[in-house]
Amino acid sequence: MLLVNLILILLIGGVIALMSERMGRNWPRLIALLIVLLDLAYLLSGLSAIPAEKFSLTPAAGDPASWLMAYQADWIPRFGISFNLAMDGLSLVLVVLTLVLGAIAIISSWNEDNDQQGFFQANILWTLAGVIGVFLALDLFLFFLFWEVMLVPMYLLIAIWGHEGKAHASMKFFIFTQLSGLLMLVAILVLAKIHHSATGVVSFSYFDLLDTPMSQGVAHWLMLGFFIAFVVKLPGFPVHTWLPDAHTQAPTAGSVILAGILLKTGAYGLIRFTVPLFPEAALNFAPIAMLLGVAGVIYGAILAFAQTDFKRLVAYSSVSHMGFVLLGVFAWNSLALQGAVMQMVAHGFSTAALFMIAGALQQRLHTRDMTEMGGLWYNMPRMGAVALFFALASLGLPGLGNFVAEFLVLLGLFTVNPWMAAAAALGLITAAVYSLIMMQKAFYGKPDESRKLADFGTLEMGAMAVMIIGLIWLGLYPQPVLDMVQPVLDSVATQVGVTPISWRAGS
């Protein structure tokens, strides 16, 4: 029931935030922030009741007791659809990330003068609810439902509060993700039908559908249905084109949520669904998927380098970074998978922070064009220092989370395909180039001393501090996160039937 409440708090909280606008313009943001924090506290208090040894249990299919938490209720028995939520280490990490970044997203728009504050904050909360649903749903119908529904408030965020090209960007975002979602729906239904004709049971449960016997040809097509939906969201090359537009046009909070959380649903889907449901087809497809990953890493980096728009640069850098996730997932060994999960978390923090800085710059300068910036460190030293930190994190400075992630992915990839690993490693170099160019254009150079700009305030610095501490912690002592997800990766690995190369710092 805790899992249901987790979503309900956000849904109802959205309505409260919407209503609270009547009391005054400043109420919705405060209420929204409190609701996200309440949700987080509720989750953590629920976790403290779980015995510690359960965290190291390998979650087994069909055994709810081996999961951290589970909830199941009948929903549409006509089609064997149940309201089935469950949480394991992987979902836990991602849900916590969602809530933390959700709170940061609300803070990032604290001082923005948006119209219709109530509806704005409500849409943020509803998006968070949808994303958490995606991370928890273990019924494929329910998963698809959350997958699609979370897009609607996100669409509204871009379409209503976006910048000059919002109509085009929001539409592109929605059509890309919806159309790929429909392919996944067809794949889900075909899978359910095959399962039905094999066993006579109509079910959309993840556990039932695992191990569905089918021919290689069919499995390949179904795998592609899932793969496309997730890669569009990731976004992977060559279906990433919606991302720079959506990011550039979205309001700051929208960008933070989009980059920090929404992209992770694609990666999560690959780990949770694509590979375990169709292990052989996925592994046969792995070389192509990895090729797409490498292409994304390099292509994203090159395009990021060519941008003059601050937000577009960060957006393309996301394409590059998420390429590592694709590589990590399809290298499919313990190291690379751990790297992929680390990348999801670390990239969530670093990119969210960069988008927050981009939003702050746009709010102060009314432009995102870096050719019109320069010397901003002089005007806003605190923001400059913070930006430098996250630029370094993004380029993979050892000691920070992103380095650990990319290093693990490359290490795991090397055992599978050294050439790909070599090519992907180029991404680390190019990342240094575009990150530093960004710093140079925006913050270094000759300052315009006449500019009077407000530096980051306490609230923003607080949010930044959370992310800075998070990245340093991930960089210096990533073991807790790795321990948290290791049982999950073990369980999907056994599902897939390929022995993962065991590697743990402790053992």
């Binding site: 009948d74 929903w75 549409i76 028995p77 006509r78 089609f79 219709q116 509806f119 698809f144 439902l145 699609e148 529904v149 609607v152 669409y155 509204l156 379409a159 209503i160 109509a167 929001s170 539409m171 929605f174 059509i175 919806q178 159309l179 429909l182 392919l183 729906l185 067809v186 239904l189 075909v190 039908k193």
Partner: protein
């Protein structure tokens, strides 16, 4: 006793017929629009309640044949309820609309009930004669309804267009009936089915006849390539009538066609299945493509209805391909219910926006506010700009309606689409499914355009100070539609359980 029990079984058409007579007398002796309105709403509600909570002797679920012409079974009862629901919503909202646009007229409700009666007969018909009777009753009353506001040339143009083309379609349909009769010597659905199963003579006549029937019905359902009239008629007809046309007329005709298709075992013909599949693909793709660039909400909905009827045709092909085709009928029932409630929501919005408390009112010489009778309906997409901030509830209504038409989860339209996908995958119709996916993808664009337009800043020209209260009748209607679309989308199980009990 057959007659008595038959009357009980046909309670809905009987109640409506009596209401028609009463209103006719009332108009003759005491012209009062409010009374006519109340009478029509009450009679529709009464008929609906009698169907939902059947008195003893009727509606026990078993099919009851009443003369060779009509049948009362769970299928006809379900569609009767659906039709009456749509009639009720239309009728409730029509009053405010008429006050502003056509003056107060009583005959509107009379025509509405007549048309609804035609639809009720249509869904109960098991014989080509009653089929034609229902169809024409539905159609003839509709011509008058479309042309009802005498001012402005659009309604008249629409009515004439519909009259001529619909007349031609009926003629083709009738010719098809004649050919079937010439080949088989019977007009009853079931007998046609028996004869078709046993004889292989007169194949050419039968094929011609069936093709003509589908062409005639294809016109009424506005399937590509018989869709040309749809946007003009949708745009020209007054909004409540367009809503009626889109929901009552289309769902009743499709329901009757489905019964004919199944009872007469037309699904055995492979060539017919291929023809239906082609119609479906053409409607899905062309309907959606033509809707892309429409700037008028009514024209947009017209092309969208072309696409949706194309989606629905998939179920007919499914029926012909499956050993246990129950899912196809269930899909038709759910999808039509979803489509009816969703379209009603869209047209309810247009009707309310065109009603006097909302439209810009001028002042007459004495300074009293009068409705602007000649004002065009605010059906351009730009008229919706800023609706989110001006009329949040109405904007919510249209947003959910658009999302439901687009098939986004949590709305009833998604479950409908889910049914179509499930049925299509069950029958392994990959080409049709591909068209469905592509069509839905295109559809998202124009449905979202409407939503986007509502979120945009209101133009300066719209005076925010005009009276924007919804009438006391409109408020509950709007909330019922919103609740219906969401409830059936989130908790569809009880409705699905009801539908799975319906056998055709």
């Amino acid at each position: 006793m057959i007659i008595e029990s038959g009357i009980v079984a046909l309670i809905a058409p009987v109640v409506i017929s009596v209401a028609i007579l009463v209103i006719m007398m009332q108009i003759a002796f005491w012209r009062n629009a409010t009374v006519s309105w109340v009478l029509s709403c009450l009679s529709i509600a009464a008929a609906m309640l009698l169907l939902i909570f059947p008195i003893s002797g009727s509606g026990d679920g078993s099919a009851q044949q009443i003369t060779p012409l009509l049948v009362a079974d769970s299928y006809s009862i379900f569609f009767s309820i659906l039709i009456l629901f749509a009639c009720l919503i239309t009728s409730l909202l029509a009053k405010d609309y008429l006050q502003s646009r056509a003056g107060e007229n009583e005959e509107f409700y009379l025509l509405l009930l007549l048309s609804g009666l035609g639809a009720l007969i249509l869904v109960s018909s098991t014989h080509l004669a009653s089929f034609l009777l229902g169809l024409e009753l539905l159609g003839v009353a509709l011509y008058a309804l479309i042309a009802y506001p005498e001012r402005g040339h659009l309604p008249l143009e629409a009515a004439v267009k519909y009259l001529i083309l619909s007349g031609a379609a009926s003629a083709i349909l009738l010719f098809g009936f004649a050919l079937i009769y010439a080949a088989l010597g019977t007009l009853s659905f079931a007998n046609i089915g028996h004869q078709l199963a046993n004889s292989s003579d007169n194949q050419v006549l039968l094929l011609m006849g069936t093709a003509m029937i589908f062409a005639g019905i294809g016109f009424k359902l506005s399937l590509v390539p018989f869709h040309m009239w749809t946007p003009d008629v949708y745009q020209g007809a007054p909004s409540p009538v367009t809503g009626f046309l889109a929901t009552v007329s289309k769902s009743a005709i499709f329901a009757a066609l489905m019964r004919l298709y199944i009872d007469a075992q037309l699904y055995q013909y492979n060539r017919l299945l291929i023809g239906i599949a082609i119609l479906a693909i053409a409607s899905m793709l062309i309907g959606n493509l033509l809707a892309l660039k429409q700037n008028n909400l009514k024209r947009l909905l017209a092309y969208s209805s072309v696409a949706h009827l194309g989606y629905l045709l998939i179920t007919m092909v499914v029926y012909g391909r499956l050993q246990q085709p129950g899912i196809a009928v269930e899909a038709v029932n759910f999808y039509l219910a979803a489509y009816v409630i969703t379209s009603l929501a869209a047209f309810a919005l247009l009707t309310i926006l065109s009603s006097p408390t909302i439209i810009e009112s001028g002042n007459d010489q004495a300074g009293n506010a009068v409705a602007n009778l000649d004002a065009p309906e605010p059906d351009h997409i730009d008229h919706l700009r800023g609706l989110f901030w001006r009329q949040p509830v109405l904007a919510l209504l249209l947003t959910i309606s658009m999302l439901s038409l687009a098939g986004i989860p949590l709305t009833v339209g998604f479950i409908g689409k889910f049914y179509l996908f499930t049925a299509g995958i069950g029958a392994e119709l990959w080409v049709l499914l591909a068209a469905l996916v592509i069509g839905s993808g295109i559809g998202i664009y124009y449905y979202l355009r409407v939503v986007f337009s509502m979120t945009a800043k209101a133009p300066e020209s719209i005076d925010m100070s005009i009276n924007q209260r919804m009438s006391p009748v409109a408020v509950p209607v709007v909330w019922v539609l919103i609740a219906g679309m969401l409830y059936l989308g989130i908790f569809p199980q009880s409705f699905i359980a009801y539908l799975s009990g319906i056998i055709l």
